[in-house]
């Protein structure tokens, strides 16, 4: 099991250039749990993720890991605790699966030492956990979207961080692959206790897979808590401007959102 960490945003203000997207947000990420950030397009959920994963330098406030501001922690050391899978990572031409996953070992390697047994172990474990060891020597370009996404997650796993951020890991994937990816991430969380924080578009899948939800609107945190306690039709109306009914998911007994459009009424 991984060690527990305190990881929090304190009065965080952040954005691109002059434009402020996150406005004075404070929140604390529950350790060893799966947290999902939900919100409408442009509400700042991706910015929150990127700022907490030190991809964007905040213009105000700070991100604090175990009592230290992350911008004061040496970048390689931080990369051994906090990992991130960006939304659309860049694939170098002609790279093989094992080679790409192996690059996740970078923060654990020093300048002079070559690959150690520990490095190989971590890569092998990541490949096995994502069920992609069979095509370790294949080129990434030959893989399907779902397989490719598993390779990227494997790279983040090889990094062996206690905290892992994922920016919309299921975008562009078929529903089958979406479930597969979310199941694998749940395995990771249950087996290793990895703290997972991700942005997800699908509210129902979020409700099913998250231990904890953060709901954002216009750069502000409007609600947080377990899906069962916070997901109400009032919250959905507030966050997404969408009328809906909330029922019980017959499979997972989590809240299930049934949207109401203009053409259908609930008689």
């Amino acid at each position: 099991m991984t060690t527990a960490h305190t990881f929090a945003a304190k009065q965080l203000t952040s954005g691109y250039d002059e434009r402020i997207i996150l406005d004075n947000i404070s929140l604390s990420i529950p350790s060893n749990q799966m947290s999902i950030i939900i919100g409408a397009n442009g509400c700042g959920k991706s910015t929150l993720l990127k700022t907490m994963a030190r991809l964007i330098k905040p213009s105000g406030g700070e991100v604090v890991l175990d009592g230290k501001s992350i911008h004061t922690i040496p970048s390689k050391q931080l990369a051994r605790t906090v990992g991130l899978l960006p939304q659309s990572p860049v694939v170098p031409e002609g790279i093989t699966v094992a080679d790409l996953v192996g690059r996740g070992r970078y923060p654990h390697q020093s300048l002079l030492k070559g690959w150690t047994k520990k490095d190989y172990e971590a890569v092998a474990e990541a490949l096995d956990l994502m069920n992609i060891s069979a095509f370790a020597d294949r080129h990434i370009d030959e893989l399907s979207g779902g397989q490719r996404q598993r390779v990227w997650i494997a790279m983040a796993l090889a990094q062996q961080t206690d905290i892992l951020f994922l920016d919309e890991p299921t975008t562009y994937l078929d529903i089958t692959y979406q479930i597969e990816i979310l199941d694998l991430l749940t395995d990771l969380n249950k087996k290793h206790g990895t703290t997972i924080i991700m942005v997800l578009h699908d509210i129902n899948l979020s409700a099913r897979y998250a231990d904890y939800l953060f709901a954002l609107k216009d750069g502000q945190l409007v609600a947080e808590g377990t899906p069962a306690t916070i997901l109400t039709s009032a919250l959905i109306d507030d966050v997404f401007q969408l009328k809906c009914q909330v029922i019980d998911d017959p499979v997972s007994q989590t809240p299930l959102i049934i949207p109401i459009g203009r053409h259908h009424t609930n008689k």
């Binding site: 250039d17 990127k50 994963a53 030190r54 991809l55 970048s75 390689k76 050391q77 931080l78 990369a79 051994r80 906090v82 990992g83 991130l84 899978l85 960006p86 990572p89 860049v90 170098p92 002609g94 790279i95 093989t96 094992a98 080679d99 790409l100 192996g102 690059r103 996740g104 970078y106 923060p107 390697q109 300048l111 690959w115 190989y120 172990e121 890569v123 092998a124 474990e125 490949l127 096995d128 060891s133 370790a136 020597d137 983040a156 990094q159 951020f165």
Partner: protein, 343 residues
């Protein structure tokens, strides 16, 4: 299960390592053969034994002058400039993730050339001044290109297009200088239009040789970071690479050796552009192709110079030959990129 996976990963990696070592040795051997050929061949062909005796400092009738004073500096200029072009070109192409984002294509070499020609024709400067000016010229061009292509968000496509534009401006500037220059300065200045190993002298080689010995280890030390930078800004940051610092370090190191190589031999067309992709294709993935790229650069320059000297009735400078090889590849690349729909 994990154990089995691990064994197969290790096996695959070792296989690629053997291939890498074998290939690097082969490239180094070819380079060595070409170096010796450069010393042996000429109006008079000297046997290897004479060449070795000259190199050991013995006085050999005839050979000492031809080999020691003319052919040796020519060979060393080709060796070090070729290596610098190959290595520097590969750094640019990998860091910017585009084979077109290359010192030749985006005008860094012409920045060095323009500064050098300006020093020769307008300032009548010394060789040391010319070297320093060409490094500064190259750096200023890089900074200008980066600054202009920054905009609201950095785009490599824009960087390449701006680079090509700047190259055109600098070439025009060089042509203007050549028109207003004194006729007796022109032969020296002409070298800046098309690279040539003619007239290489021992004393002018020193800055390039020193720089190659200093910056090659620095660049090789950064090769792991370079591989991570290839994964894009966000992933690289997440993996703990200080992207800005690494980029500046790599850029400055690459620009210095490229500029000094340009200052020594002139811009030998397309070597920096061709060496990287050739080396990468040979090595495959999993190992950094930095060193092989440098060696491919050496082979390209020396082989092209030998062809230019001996294959035709007239003697052509090395840059003409590499230009003939490189231009079709540039066109091929542009057509392929155009099909994919992105620059």
């Amino acid at each position: 299960m994990t154990n089995f996976t691990m064994q197969s990963i290790i096996a695959a990696k070792q296989k690629r390592k053997r291939r890498f070592v074998w290939l690097t040795t082969l490239l180094a051997s070819i380079s060595l053969v070409l170096c010796v050929a450069m010393l042996m061949l000429g109006n008079t062909i000297y046997p290897v034994s004479d060449v070795i005796r000259v190199l050991l400092g013995e006085d050999v009738q005839g050979a000492s002058f031809a080999v020691g004073t003319i052919r040796l500096p020519r060979m060393l200029a080709g060796l070090f400039a070729g290596f610098a072009f190959g290595l520097g070109g590969y750094v640019f192409q990998t860091m910017l993730r585009n084979p077109l984002a290359n010192p030749n294509v985006i005008g860094i070499t012409s920045g060095s050339s323009a500064a050098a020609v300006f020093c020769i024709i307008v300032l009548q400067a010394s060789n040391t001044m010319i070297s320093i000016a060409s490094v500064i010229g190259g750096l200023i061009t890089v900074i200008a290109i980066f600054f202009l292509s920054k905009g609201s968000s950095f785009s490599i496509g824009r960087l390449i297009l701006i680079g090509i534009g700047i190259q055109a401006m600098l070439t025009a500037f060089i042509n203007y200088l050549l028109l207003i220059g004194n006729t007796h300065d022109l032969p020296t200045a002409m070298r800046w239009l098309s690279g040539s190993l003619n007239g290489a002298k021992m004393e002018t080689l020193t800055p390039l040789v020193v720089a190659v010995f200093i910056f090659t280890p620095i660049i090789l030390m950064l090769s792991k970071r370079l591989a991570i930078l290839e994964l894009g800004e966000q992933t690289a940051t997440a993996l703990g690479v200080d992207t800005n610092k690494s980029r500046v370090l790599l850029l400055v190191s690459a620009v210095i050796i490229l500029a000094l190589a340009t200052a020594t031999t002139g811009p030998i067309a397309f070597v920096a552009f061709l060496a990287g992709p050739i080396a990468k294709r040979l090595v495959g993935h999993g190992f950094s192709a930095l060193l092989p790229a440098g060696l491919v650069g050496v082979i390209l320059v020396l082989a092209a110079d030998l062809i230019g000297q001996f294959a035709f009735t007239a003697r052509y400078p090395v840059g003409v030959i590499t230009g003939i090889i490189g231009a079709p590849y540039l066109i091929y690349l542009l057509i392929r990129i155009n099909r994919k729909g992105d620059i």
